[in-house]
Amino acid sequence: MTQRIFAYIIHKKGVVDDTALEMVSAAQRLGIDAPITAVVAGSGDELGTVCNAMAASYAEVWKIDDDALAYINAEVLRELLVRILPTDGIVLIPHEHFGMDLAPGLSVKLGAAYLPDAVDFEGIEDGYLKAVREEYSGQVNTHVLCDISQGAVVTVRPGIFKADESQALQGQIVDKSSEALEEGRTDARRRYIEIVEAEVGDVDITKSEILVSVGRGIEDEDNMEIIFDLAEAMGGDVSCSRPVVDAKWLEKSRQVGTSGQTVKPKVYLALGISGAFQHLGGIKGSPFIVAVNKNSKAPIFQSADIGVVADILDFVPELTDRINEMKG
Protein backbone atom coordinates (compact mmCIF):
# COMPACT_ATOMS: atom_id res chain seq x y z
CA MET A 1 0.00 0.00 0.00
CA THR A 2 1.28 3.46 -0.77
CA GLN A 3 1.94 5.72 2.13
CA ARG A 4 -0.42 8.56 2.87
CA ILE A 5 0.82 12.12 2.73
CA PHE A 6 -0.33 14.80 5.16
CA ALA A 7 0.31 18.53 5.21
CA TYR A 8 -0.15 20.52 8.39
CA ILE A 9 -1.88 23.85 7.73
CA ILE A 10 -0.84 26.97 9.64
CA HIS A 11 -3.53 29.63 9.94
CA LYS A 12 -4.33 32.61 12.08
CA LYS A 13 -7.70 34.29 12.66
CA GLY A 14 -9.23 32.43 9.72
CA VAL A 15 -6.43 33.44 7.35
CA VAL A 16 -4.37 30.65 5.84
CA ASP A 17 -0.58 31.02 5.93
CA ASP A 18 1.38 31.22 2.65
CA THR A 19 2.92 27.85 3.44
CA ALA A 20 -0.45 26.08 3.07
CA LEU A 21 -0.26 26.03 -0.74
CA GLU A 22 3.52 25.65 -0.76
CA MET A 23 2.94 22.29 0.95
CA VAL A 24 0.91 21.16 -2.07
CA SER A 25 3.92 21.64 -4.35
CA ALA A 26 6.26 20.13 -1.79
CA ALA A 27 4.06 17.04 -1.49
CA GLN A 28 3.97 16.65 -5.27
CA ARG A 29 7.78 16.77 -5.36
CA LEU A 30 7.98 13.77 -3.02
CA GLY A 31 7.41 11.45 -5.95
CA ILE A 32 4.73 9.43 -4.20
CA ASP A 33 1.54 8.96 -6.16
CA ALA A 34 -0.98 9.41 -3.37
CA PRO A 35 -3.70 11.91 -2.55
CA ILE A 36 -2.63 14.58 -0.09
CA THR A 37 -4.53 15.26 3.09
CA ALA A 38 -4.53 18.67 4.77
CA VAL A 39 -4.65 18.57 8.57
CA VAL A 40 -6.32 21.62 10.07
CA ALA A 41 -6.71 22.21 13.80
CA GLY A 42 -8.45 25.05 15.57
CA SER A 43 -11.91 25.96 16.74
CA GLY A 44 -15.22 27.38 15.61
CA ASP A 45 -16.11 29.41 12.52
CA GLU A 46 -12.56 30.41 11.72
CA LEU A 47 -11.60 26.78 11.48
CA GLY A 48 -14.55 26.13 9.16
CA THR A 49 -13.40 28.94 6.85
CA VAL A 50 -9.89 27.51 6.68
CA CYS A 51 -11.15 23.98 6.00
CA ASN A 52 -13.36 25.19 3.16
CA ALA A 53 -10.48 27.10 1.61
CA MET A 54 -8.20 24.06 1.84
CA ALA A 55 -10.75 21.74 0.24
CA ALA A 56 -10.03 23.46 -3.07
CA SER A 57 -6.38 22.47 -2.94
CA TYR A 58 -6.32 19.17 -1.06
CA ALA A 59 -8.09 15.91 -1.88
CA GLU A 60 -9.08 15.52 1.74
CA VAL A 61 -9.15 17.84 4.74
CA TRP A 62 -8.95 16.47 8.25
CA LYS A 63 -10.43 18.81 10.78
CA ILE A 64 -9.80 18.84 14.52
CA ASP A 65 -12.19 21.20 16.23
CA ASP A 66 -11.78 21.87 19.93
CA ASP A 67 -12.16 24.95 22.13
CA ALA A 68 -8.79 24.17 23.66
CA LEU A 69 -7.26 24.75 20.21
CA ALA A 70 -8.45 28.35 19.90
CA TYR A 71 -4.81 29.13 20.47
CA ILE A 72 -2.83 26.07 19.46
CA ASN A 73 -0.40 24.72 22.02
CA ALA A 74 1.99 22.35 20.22
CA GLU A 75 2.14 20.02 23.23
CA VAL A 76 -1.63 19.56 23.34
CA LEU A 77 -1.97 19.24 19.57
CA ARG A 78 0.82 16.66 19.34
CA GLU A 79 -1.11 14.27 21.53
CA LEU A 80 -4.23 14.65 19.38
CA LEU A 81 -2.30 14.16 16.15
CA VAL A 82 -0.69 10.98 17.43
CA ARG A 83 -4.16 9.56 17.98
CA ILE A 84 -5.36 10.13 14.42
CA LEU A 85 -2.31 9.88 12.17
CA PRO A 86 -1.26 6.50 10.77
CA THR A 87 2.21 5.55 12.02
CA ASP A 88 3.62 5.13 8.53
CA GLY A 89 2.39 8.39 7.01
CA ILE A 90 4.53 11.18 5.66
CA VAL A 91 3.71 14.38 7.49
CA LEU A 92 4.83 17.71 6.04
CA ILE A 93 5.04 20.67 8.41
CA PRO A 94 6.35 24.17 7.65
CA HIS A 95 9.75 24.84 9.24
CA GLU A 96 8.74 27.99 11.10
CA HIS A 97 8.08 28.98 14.71
CA PHE A 98 5.16 26.65 15.24
CA GLY A 99 6.50 23.79 13.13
CA MET A 100 9.81 23.84 15.00
CA ASP A 101 7.85 23.55 18.24
CA LEU A 102 5.67 20.65 17.13
CA ALA A 103 7.57 18.52 14.65
CA PRO A 104 10.60 16.99 16.45
CA GLY A 105 8.52 15.66 19.33
CA LEU A 106 5.77 14.48 16.98
CA SER A 107 8.26 12.31 15.08
CA VAL A 108 9.39 10.67 18.33
CA LYS A 109 5.83 9.98 19.45
CA LEU A 110 4.91 8.52 16.05
CA GLY A 111 8.09 6.45 15.94
CA ALA A 112 8.77 8.06 12.57
CA ALA A 113 11.97 9.44 11.06
CA TYR A 114 12.55 13.17 11.42
CA LEU A 115 13.81 15.16 8.47
CA PRO A 116 14.14 18.85 9.35
CA ASP A 117 14.17 21.90 7.08
CA ALA A 118 14.11 20.24 3.66
CA VAL A 119 14.59 22.59 0.70
CA ASP A 120 14.01 20.08 -2.09
CA PHE A 121 13.07 16.46 -2.76
CA GLU A 122 14.56 14.17 -5.37
CA GLY A 123 12.22 11.22 -5.21
CA ILE A 124 12.08 7.85 -3.48
CA GLU A 125 14.80 5.21 -3.82
CA ASP A 126 14.29 1.78 -2.21
CA GLY A 127 12.11 3.08 0.58
CA TYR A 128 14.29 6.11 1.19
CA LEU A 129 13.26 9.67 0.47
CA LYS A 130 16.09 11.64 -1.07
CA ALA A 131 16.07 15.26 0.01
CA VAL A 132 18.23 18.37 -0.12
CA ARG A 133 19.17 20.34 3.01
CA GLU A 134 21.37 23.33 3.65
CA GLU A 135 24.11 23.46 6.24
CA TYR A 136 26.31 26.22 7.65
CA SER A 137 23.60 28.80 6.98
CA GLY A 138 23.40 27.97 3.30
CA GLN A 139 27.12 27.89 2.52
CA VAL A 140 26.93 24.23 1.45
CA ASN A 141 24.14 21.80 0.59
CA THR A 142 23.77 18.12 1.34
CA HIS A 143 21.74 15.26 -0.03
CA VAL A 144 20.20 13.13 2.68
CA LEU A 145 18.41 9.81 2.57
CA CYS A 146 15.52 9.45 4.96
CA ASP A 147 14.12 6.02 5.79
CA ILE A 148 10.37 6.43 5.39
CA SER A 149 9.42 2.81 5.98
CA GLN A 150 8.09 3.65 9.45
CA GLY A 151 6.73 7.01 8.42
CA ALA A 152 8.41 10.39 8.48
CA VAL A 153 7.84 13.87 9.82
CA VAL A 154 9.39 16.33 7.41
CA THR A 155 9.65 20.07 7.98
CA VAL A 156 9.69 22.10 4.79
CA ARG A 157 11.41 25.46 4.51
CA PRO A 158 8.90 28.25 3.92
CA GLY A 159 9.20 30.27 0.73
CA ILE A 160 11.09 27.64 -1.28
CA PHE A 161 8.33 25.70 -2.99
CA LYS A 162 6.10 27.79 -5.21
CA ALA A 163 2.54 27.94 -3.94
CA ASP A 164 0.35 25.71 -6.10
CA GLU A 165 -2.77 27.70 -6.85
CA SER A 166 -3.75 25.55 -9.82
CA GLN A 167 -5.77 22.96 -7.92
CA ALA A 168 -9.54 23.12 -8.24
CA LEU A 169 -10.52 20.16 -6.12
CA GLN A 170 -13.60 19.60 -4.10
CA GLY A 171 -11.86 17.88 -1.28
CA GLN A 172 -13.82 16.05 1.32
CA ILE A 173 -13.77 17.54 4.81
CA VAL A 174 -13.53 14.79 7.39
CA ASP A 175 -14.24 15.70 10.99
CA LYS A 176 -11.62 13.91 13.08
CA SER A 177 -12.47 15.75 16.31
CA SER A 178 -14.17 12.91 18.15
CA GLU A 179 -11.46 10.42 17.22
CA ALA A 180 -8.78 12.86 18.36
CA LEU A 181 -10.58 13.74 21.58
CA GLU A 182 -12.04 10.34 22.45
CA GLU A 183 -9.61 9.79 25.28
CA GLY A 184 -9.98 13.38 26.41
CA ARG A 185 -7.22 15.91 26.57
CA THR A 186 -4.06 15.39 28.51
CA ASP A 187 -3.56 17.99 31.18
CA ALA A 188 -1.00 20.17 29.54
CA ARG A 189 2.22 20.65 31.38
CA ARG A 190 2.76 23.70 29.23
CA ARG A 191 -0.05 26.22 29.44
CA TYR A 192 -0.55 29.15 27.10
CA ILE A 193 -0.99 32.48 28.84
CA GLU A 194 -0.99 35.29 26.29
CA ILE A 195 0.70 36.96 23.35
CA VAL A 196 2.83 39.98 24.14
CA GLU A 197 3.12 42.15 21.03
CA ALA A 198 6.53 43.41 19.90
CA GLU A 199 7.41 46.93 20.97
CA VAL A 200 7.05 49.72 18.45
CA GLY A 201 10.27 51.57 17.76
CA ASP A 202 11.26 55.06 16.67
CA VAL A 203 11.14 54.30 12.93
CA ASP A 204 8.68 52.09 11.12
CA ILE A 205 10.87 50.22 8.63
CA THR A 206 7.81 48.49 7.17
CA LYS A 207 6.98 51.81 5.50
CA SER A 208 10.50 52.66 4.24
CA GLU A 209 11.18 52.77 0.51
CA ILE A 210 14.93 52.67 0.91
CA LEU A 211 16.50 50.41 3.52
CA VAL A 212 20.17 50.33 4.37
CA SER A 213 20.41 47.05 6.25
CA VAL A 214 23.41 46.03 8.31
CA GLY A 215 24.52 42.62 9.60
CA ARG A 216 27.16 41.06 11.78
CA GLY A 217 29.77 42.08 9.22
CA ILE A 218 29.81 45.55 10.81
CA GLU A 219 31.86 43.89 13.58
CA ASP A 220 31.59 46.60 16.22
CA GLU A 221 29.07 49.07 17.58
CA ASP A 222 31.47 51.95 16.91
CA ASN A 223 31.26 51.20 13.18
CA MET A 224 27.49 51.66 13.05
CA GLU A 225 27.99 55.33 12.27
CA ILE A 226 29.02 54.61 8.66
CA ILE A 227 25.69 52.87 8.08
CA PHE A 228 23.66 55.80 9.38
CA ASP A 229 25.76 58.18 7.26
CA LEU A 230 25.00 56.15 4.12
CA ALA A 231 21.30 55.93 4.95
CA GLU A 232 21.19 59.69 5.41
CA ALA A 233 22.96 60.31 2.10
CA MET A 234 20.52 58.01 0.30
CA GLY A 235 17.47 59.32 2.13
CA GLY A 236 16.68 55.91 3.55
CA ASP A 237 16.31 54.20 6.91
CA VAL A 238 18.62 51.81 8.74
CA SER A 239 17.47 48.25 9.34
CA CYS A 240 19.43 45.15 10.32
CA SER A 241 19.75 41.41 10.73
CA ARG A 242 19.24 39.61 13.99
CA PRO A 243 22.78 39.55 15.47
CA VAL A 244 22.85 43.38 15.44
CA VAL A 245 19.75 43.38 17.64
CA ASP A 246 21.06 40.58 19.83
CA ALA A 247 24.16 42.70 20.49
CA LYS A 248 21.82 45.60 21.35
CA TRP A 249 23.34 47.88 18.72
CA LEU A 250 19.89 48.58 17.29
CA GLU A 251 16.32 48.21 18.50
CA LYS A 252 14.37 45.06 17.79
CA SER A 253 11.89 47.09 15.72
CA ARG A 254 14.62 47.52 13.08
CA GLN A 255 15.18 43.78 12.60
CA VAL A 256 14.17 42.37 9.22
CA GLY A 257 13.12 38.73 9.10
CA THR A 258 10.74 36.02 10.18
CA SER A 259 11.14 36.92 13.83
CA GLY A 260 11.31 40.63 13.07
CA GLN A 261 9.61 42.93 10.58
CA THR A 262 8.35 42.20 7.09
CA VAL A 263 9.50 45.04 4.84
CA LYS A 264 8.55 46.03 1.28
CA PRO A 265 11.06 48.66 0.18
CA LYS A 266 11.97 49.60 -3.39
CA VAL A 267 15.66 49.33 -2.69
CA TYR A 268 17.35 47.11 -0.10
CA LEU A 269 21.04 47.25 0.70
CA ALA A 270 22.36 44.19 2.55
CA LEU A 271 25.69 45.16 4.11
CA GLY A 272 27.64 42.40 5.84
CA ILE A 273 24.59 40.12 5.89
CA SER A 274 25.05 36.46 4.93
CA GLY A 275 21.51 35.90 3.67
CA ALA A 276 19.98 33.36 6.06
CA PHE A 277 16.48 32.33 5.01
CA GLN A 278 15.01 33.72 8.22
CA HIS A 279 16.39 37.11 7.22
CA LEU A 280 15.29 36.94 3.58
CA GLY A 281 11.85 35.79 4.73
CA GLY A 282 11.20 39.34 5.93
CA ILE A 283 11.86 40.98 2.55
CA LYS A 284 8.77 41.10 0.36
CA GLY A 285 7.68 42.82 -2.82
CA SER A 286 10.84 42.00 -4.85
CA PRO A 287 12.91 45.10 -4.12
CA PHE A 288 16.13 45.90 -5.95
CA ILE A 289 18.67 44.21 -3.66
CA VAL A 290 22.32 45.22 -3.49
CA ALA A 291 24.60 43.03 -1.37
CA VAL A 292 28.03 44.02 -0.15
CA ASN A 293 29.93 41.16 1.44
CA LYS A 294 33.59 40.26 1.73
CA ASN A 295 32.88 36.58 1.13
CA SER A 296 32.25 36.02 -2.58
CA LYS A 297 30.40 32.79 -1.72
CA ALA A 298 27.96 34.34 0.74
CA PRO A 299 24.43 33.02 0.04
CA ILE A 300 23.10 36.60 -0.11
CA PHE A 301 24.57 36.87 -3.61
CA GLN A 302 22.00 34.29 -4.72
CA SER A 303 19.12 36.57 -3.78
CA ALA A 304 20.63 39.94 -4.65
CA ASP A 305 20.35 41.72 -8.01
CA ILE A 306 23.72 43.40 -7.68
CA GLY A 307 26.69 42.20 -5.65
CA VAL A 308 29.89 43.87 -4.54
CA VAL A 309 32.64 41.76 -3.01
CA ALA A 310 34.24 44.18 -0.58
CA ASP A 311 34.87 45.04 3.05
CA ILE A 312 31.94 47.21 4.12
CA LEU A 313 34.15 49.12 6.54
CA ASP A 314 36.09 50.49 3.54
CA PHE A 315 33.40 50.44 0.88
CA VAL A 316 30.49 52.07 2.66
CA PRO A 317 32.24 55.36 3.58
CA GLU A 318 33.48 55.71 -0.01
CA LEU A 319 30.00 55.13 -1.38
CA THR A 320 28.59 57.70 1.06
CA ASP A 321 31.17 60.29 0.04
CA ARG A 322 30.37 59.80 -3.64
CA ILE A 323 26.63 60.14 -3.12
CA ASN A 324 27.13 63.29 -1.09
CA GLU A 325 29.39 64.71 -3.81
CA MET A 326 26.79 63.91 -6.45
CA LYS A 327 24.13 65.68 -4.48
CA GLY A 328 26.52 68.62 -4.15
Binding site: H97, M100, A113, P116, R190, G260
Partner: protein, 263 residues
Protein backbone atom coordinates in the same frame (compact mmCIF):
# COMPACT_ATOMS: atom_id res chain seq x y z
CA UNK B 1 17.89 24.01 40.60
CA UNK B 2 19.90 21.39 38.73
CA UNK B 3 20.38 22.59 35.16
CA UNK B 4 21.82 20.69 32.22
CA UNK B 5 22.91 22.52 29.08
CA UNK B 6 23.57 20.61 25.85
CA UNK B 7 26.36 22.07 23.78
CA UNK B 8 27.82 21.29 20.38
CA UNK B 9 31.24 22.03 18.91
CA UNK B 10 30.83 23.47 15.44
CA UNK B 11 32.94 25.17 12.75
CA UNK B 12 32.79 28.90 13.38
CA UNK B 13 31.10 30.37 10.30
CA UNK B 14 32.20 33.88 11.22
CA UNK B 15 35.84 32.74 11.01
CA UNK B 16 35.68 30.30 8.10
CA UNK B 17 34.40 30.06 4.58
CA UNK B 18 32.93 26.59 4.49
CA UNK B 19 33.97 24.65 1.40
CA UNK B 20 33.22 21.18 0.09
CA UNK B 21 36.18 18.81 -0.20
CA UNK B 22 37.30 17.21 -3.47
CA UNK B 23 35.03 14.20 -3.58
CA UNK B 24 32.10 15.82 -1.79
CA UNK B 25 32.29 13.42 1.13
CA UNK B 26 32.78 16.17 3.70
CA UNK B 27 33.57 19.84 4.10
CA UNK B 28 37.21 20.92 3.94
CA UNK B 29 38.20 20.56 7.59
CA UNK B 30 41.94 21.19 7.50
CA UNK B 31 42.06 24.81 8.57
CA UNK B 32 38.70 25.15 10.24
CA UNK B 33 38.35 27.14 13.43
CA UNK B 34 35.83 25.53 15.78
CA UNK B 35 33.83 27.06 18.58
CA UNK B 36 30.73 26.57 20.68
CA UNK B 37 27.50 26.73 18.68
CA UNK B 38 26.36 30.38 18.92
CA UNK B 39 22.96 29.51 20.43
CA UNK B 40 24.53 27.35 23.16
CA UNK B 41 26.43 30.28 24.64
CA UNK B 42 23.12 32.01 25.27
CA UNK B 43 21.80 28.83 26.92
CA UNK B 44 24.80 28.58 29.26
CA UNK B 45 24.60 32.29 30.15
CA UNK B 46 20.91 31.89 30.97
CA UNK B 47 21.67 28.85 33.14
CA UNK B 48 24.30 30.86 35.03
CA UNK B 49 21.87 33.69 35.68
CA UNK B 50 19.22 31.26 36.94
CA UNK B 51 21.67 29.44 39.20
CA UNK B 52 23.00 32.68 40.61
CA UNK B 53 19.44 33.71 41.46
CA UNK B 54 17.94 30.50 42.87
CA UNK B 55 20.96 28.31 43.64
CA UNK B 56 21.83 24.86 42.34
CA UNK B 57 24.40 23.78 39.79
CA UNK B 58 25.00 23.62 36.05
CA UNK B 59 26.28 20.68 34.05
CA UNK B 60 27.30 21.08 30.41
CA UNK B 61 27.18 17.99 28.21
CA UNK B 62 28.26 17.30 24.66
CA UNK B 63 28.07 14.32 22.34
CA UNK B 64 31.20 14.33 20.24
CA UNK B 65 34.79 13.21 19.91
CA UNK B 66 37.65 14.12 22.25
CA UNK B 67 37.93 17.57 20.71
CA UNK B 68 34.54 18.46 22.17
CA UNK B 69 36.28 18.66 25.53
CA UNK B 70 37.63 22.10 24.66
CA UNK B 71 34.15 23.58 24.23
CA UNK B 72 32.96 21.99 27.46
CA UNK B 73 35.92 23.58 29.21
CA UNK B 74 35.15 26.94 27.65
CA UNK B 75 31.61 26.82 29.03
CA UNK B 76 32.98 25.80 32.43
CA UNK B 77 35.25 28.83 32.30
CA UNK B 78 32.12 30.83 31.62
CA UNK B 79 30.59 29.52 34.83
CA UNK B 80 29.20 26.01 34.43
CA UNK B 81 30.07 23.76 37.38
CA UNK B 82 30.62 20.43 35.65
CA UNK B 83 31.20 18.97 32.24
CA UNK B 84 30.37 15.56 30.77
CA UNK B 85 31.60 14.28 27.43
CA UNK B 86 29.52 11.53 25.86
CA UNK B 87 31.88 9.86 23.45
CA UNK B 88 32.16 6.41 21.91
CA UNK B 89 33.06 5.04 18.49
CA UNK B 90 29.58 3.56 18.42
CA UNK B 91 28.09 7.09 18.44
CA UNK B 92 29.70 8.09 15.15
CA UNK B 93 27.32 8.83 12.30
CA UNK B 94 24.31 9.25 14.58
CA UNK B 95 21.41 11.29 13.20
CA UNK B 96 19.37 13.71 15.32
CA UNK B 97 17.37 10.90 16.86
CA UNK B 98 20.63 9.12 17.71
CA UNK B 99 22.14 12.19 19.41
CA UNK B 100 18.94 12.75 21.38
CA UNK B 101 18.92 9.08 22.41
CA UNK B 102 22.51 9.32 23.65
CA UNK B 103 21.75 12.52 25.57
CA UNK B 104 18.70 10.90 27.13
CA UNK B 105 20.74 7.96 28.37
CA UNK B 106 23.30 10.37 29.82
CA UNK B 107 20.59 12.47 31.45
CA UNK B 108 19.08 9.45 33.16
CA UNK B 109 22.36 9.03 35.03
CA UNK B 110 21.78 12.40 36.66
CA UNK B 111 18.94 14.30 38.23
CA UNK B 112 17.94 17.50 36.49
CA UNK B 113 15.10 19.99 36.81
CA UNK B 114 15.76 21.95 33.67
CA UNK B 115 17.44 21.11 30.37
CA UNK B 116 18.49 23.79 27.91
CA UNK B 117 19.59 23.39 24.30
CA UNK B 118 20.29 25.93 21.58
CA UNK B 119 17.50 26.68 19.10
CA UNK B 120 19.62 25.27 16.29
CA UNK B 121 23.19 24.35 15.42
CA UNK B 122 25.38 24.29 12.33
CA UNK B 123 23.14 22.03 10.28
CA UNK B 124 20.15 24.24 11.04
CA UNK B 125 18.01 21.34 12.17
CA UNK B 126 16.59 22.61 15.45
CA UNK B 127 15.69 19.07 16.38
CA UNK B 128 17.58 17.84 19.44
CA UNK B 129 15.64 19.70 22.16
CA UNK B 130 12.20 18.67 20.93
CA UNK B 131 13.18 15.06 20.34
CA UNK B 132 14.89 14.78 23.70
CA UNK B 133 11.88 16.20 25.53
CA UNK B 134 9.53 13.75 23.81
CA UNK B 135 11.84 10.84 24.62
CA UNK B 136 11.99 11.87 28.27
CA UNK B 137 8.26 12.63 28.15
CA UNK B 138 8.93 16.09 29.58
CA UNK B 139 7.21 19.26 28.39
CA UNK B 140 9.05 21.32 25.80
CA UNK B 141 9.11 24.87 24.48
CA UNK B 142 11.22 26.03 21.56
CA UNK B 143 12.75 29.41 20.69
CA UNK B 144 12.61 30.66 24.26
CA UNK B 145 13.84 34.18 24.93
CA UNK B 146 12.41 34.86 28.39
CA UNK B 147 12.61 32.61 31.45
CA UNK B 148 11.08 33.52 34.80
CA UNK B 149 11.45 31.07 37.65
CA UNK B 150 8.14 31.05 39.54
CA UNK B 151 8.96 28.40 42.14
CA UNK B 152 10.66 25.01 42.22
CA UNK B 153 7.82 23.41 40.26
CA UNK B 154 6.87 26.01 37.67
CA UNK B 155 8.47 28.49 35.34
CA UNK B 156 7.16 31.11 32.94
CA UNK B 157 8.69 31.22 29.49
CA UNK B 158 8.33 33.50 26.50
CA UNK B 159 8.67 31.96 23.04
CA UNK B 160 9.64 34.21 20.20
CA UNK B 161 7.15 33.85 17.36
CA UNK B 162 6.59 35.61 14.03
CA UNK B 163 7.05 39.36 13.96
CA UNK B 164 9.06 39.36 17.18
CA UNK B 165 5.90 38.84 19.21
CA UNK B 166 6.11 36.75 22.31
CA UNK B 167 4.03 33.74 23.30
CA UNK B 168 3.95 33.48 27.08
CA UNK B 169 3.52 30.04 28.65
CA UNK B 170 3.58 28.53 32.09
CA UNK B 171 5.41 25.21 32.32
CA UNK B 172 5.89 22.47 34.85
CA UNK B 173 9.38 21.32 35.80
CA UNK B 174 11.22 19.27 34.80
CA UNK B 175 11.17 20.50 31.24
CA UNK B 176 13.32 21.07 28.16
CA UNK B 177 13.71 24.49 26.51
CA UNK B 178 15.48 25.49 23.32
CA UNK B 179 17.06 28.91 23.70
CA UNK B 180 16.97 31.67 21.10
CA UNK B 181 19.77 34.23 20.69
CA UNK B 182 19.23 37.64 22.26
CA UNK B 183 17.76 36.23 25.50
CA UNK B 184 20.79 37.69 27.32
CA UNK B 185 24.30 38.92 26.65
CA UNK B 186 26.69 35.98 27.05
CA UNK B 187 29.64 36.95 29.22
CA UNK B 188 33.12 37.19 27.86
CA UNK B 189 35.51 34.34 28.61
CA UNK B 190 39.11 35.42 29.00
CA UNK B 191 42.23 33.33 28.91
CA UNK B 192 42.44 33.54 32.70
CA UNK B 193 39.04 31.95 33.04
CA UNK B 194 40.09 29.07 30.80
CA UNK B 195 43.26 28.58 32.83
CA UNK B 196 41.28 28.37 36.04
CA UNK B 197 39.35 25.31 34.84
CA UNK B 198 42.25 23.74 32.93
CA UNK B 199 42.83 21.02 35.47
CA UNK B 200 39.20 20.16 36.17
CA UNK B 201 38.26 16.61 35.34
CA UNK B 202 35.72 16.11 32.55
CA UNK B 203 34.46 12.53 32.63
CA UNK B 204 34.15 10.81 29.28
CA UNK B 205 31.27 8.34 29.16
CA UNK B 206 30.62 5.71 26.50
CA UNK B 207 27.96 3.16 25.66
CA UNK B 208 28.65 1.00 28.72
CA UNK B 209 28.79 3.88 31.19
CA UNK B 210 25.39 5.21 30.24
CA UNK B 211 23.92 1.73 29.73
CA UNK B 212 22.78 2.52 26.25
CA UNK B 213 21.05 -0.42 24.64
CA UNK B 214 19.32 1.42 21.85
CA UNK B 215 19.87 0.35 18.28
CA UNK B 216 19.07 3.82 17.04
CA UNK B 217 22.48 5.37 17.61
CA UNK B 218 25.45 5.40 15.30
CA UNK B 219 25.53 5.13 11.57
CA UNK B 220 23.68 1.84 11.33
CA UNK B 221 20.81 3.08 13.50
CA UNK B 222 20.36 6.37 11.66
CA UNK B 223 17.11 6.82 9.77
CA UNK B 224 18.47 9.98 8.20
CA UNK B 225 21.82 9.66 6.48
CA UNK B 226 23.88 12.34 4.79
CA UNK B 227 24.94 11.20 1.31
CA UNK B 228 27.24 13.99 0.24
CA UNK B 229 28.03 17.68 0.39
CA UNK B 230 27.72 19.86 -2.67
CA UNK B 231 27.79 23.44 -3.74
CA UNK B 232 24.32 24.48 -4.82
CA UNK B 233 24.06 24.99 -8.54
CA UNK B 234 24.16 28.70 -8.93
CA UNK B 235 20.98 30.13 -10.32
CA UNK B 236 20.90 33.55 -11.87
CA UNK B 237 22.34 35.13 -8.78
CA UNK B 238 23.59 38.67 -8.48
CA UNK B 239 25.49 40.53 -11.14
CA UNK B 240 28.81 41.06 -9.39
CA UNK B 241 30.26 44.48 -10.10
CA UNK B 242 33.93 44.27 -11.09
CA UNK B 243 36.71 46.78 -11.49
CA UNK B 244 38.37 49.35 -9.27
CA UNK B 245 36.44 50.66 -6.27
CA UNK B 246 35.87 53.87 -8.20
CA UNK B 247 34.43 52.05 -11.17
CA UNK B 248 32.23 49.93 -8.95
CA UNK B 249 30.90 53.00 -7.17
CA UNK B 250 30.23 54.73 -10.52
CA UNK B 251 28.15 51.84 -11.67
CA UNK B 252 26.41 51.35 -8.34
CA UNK B 253 25.38 54.96 -7.84
CA UNK B 254 24.02 55.00 -11.37
CA UNK B 255 21.95 51.88 -10.68
CA UNK B 256 20.76 53.14 -7.32
CA UNK B 257 19.63 56.41 -8.88
CA UNK B 258 17.75 54.58 -11.60
CA UNK B 259 15.98 52.35 -9.09
CA UNK B 260 14.97 55.21 -6.81
CA UNK B 261 17.57 54.37 -4.20
CA UNK B 262 18.86 57.90 -3.84
CA UNK B 263 16.41 60.53 -2.77
Amino acid sequence: MEILVCIKRVPDTAENEIEVNRDGSDIERDDLVYSVNEWDNYAVEEAIQIRDKVGGSITVVSVGDEDAEEVLRREMAMGADKGILLSDNAFEGSDGEGVATILKAGIEKGNYDLILTGAQADDGAGQIGGMLAAMLDWPYASLVNIIDIVDDKTIKVGREIAGGNQEMNEMDLPCVLSIQTGINEPRYVGIRGIRKVASMEIPMLGVKDIELLSESVGKSGAKVKRLDYFVPELGEGAEILEGSTDEIIDKLTELLKAKGGIK
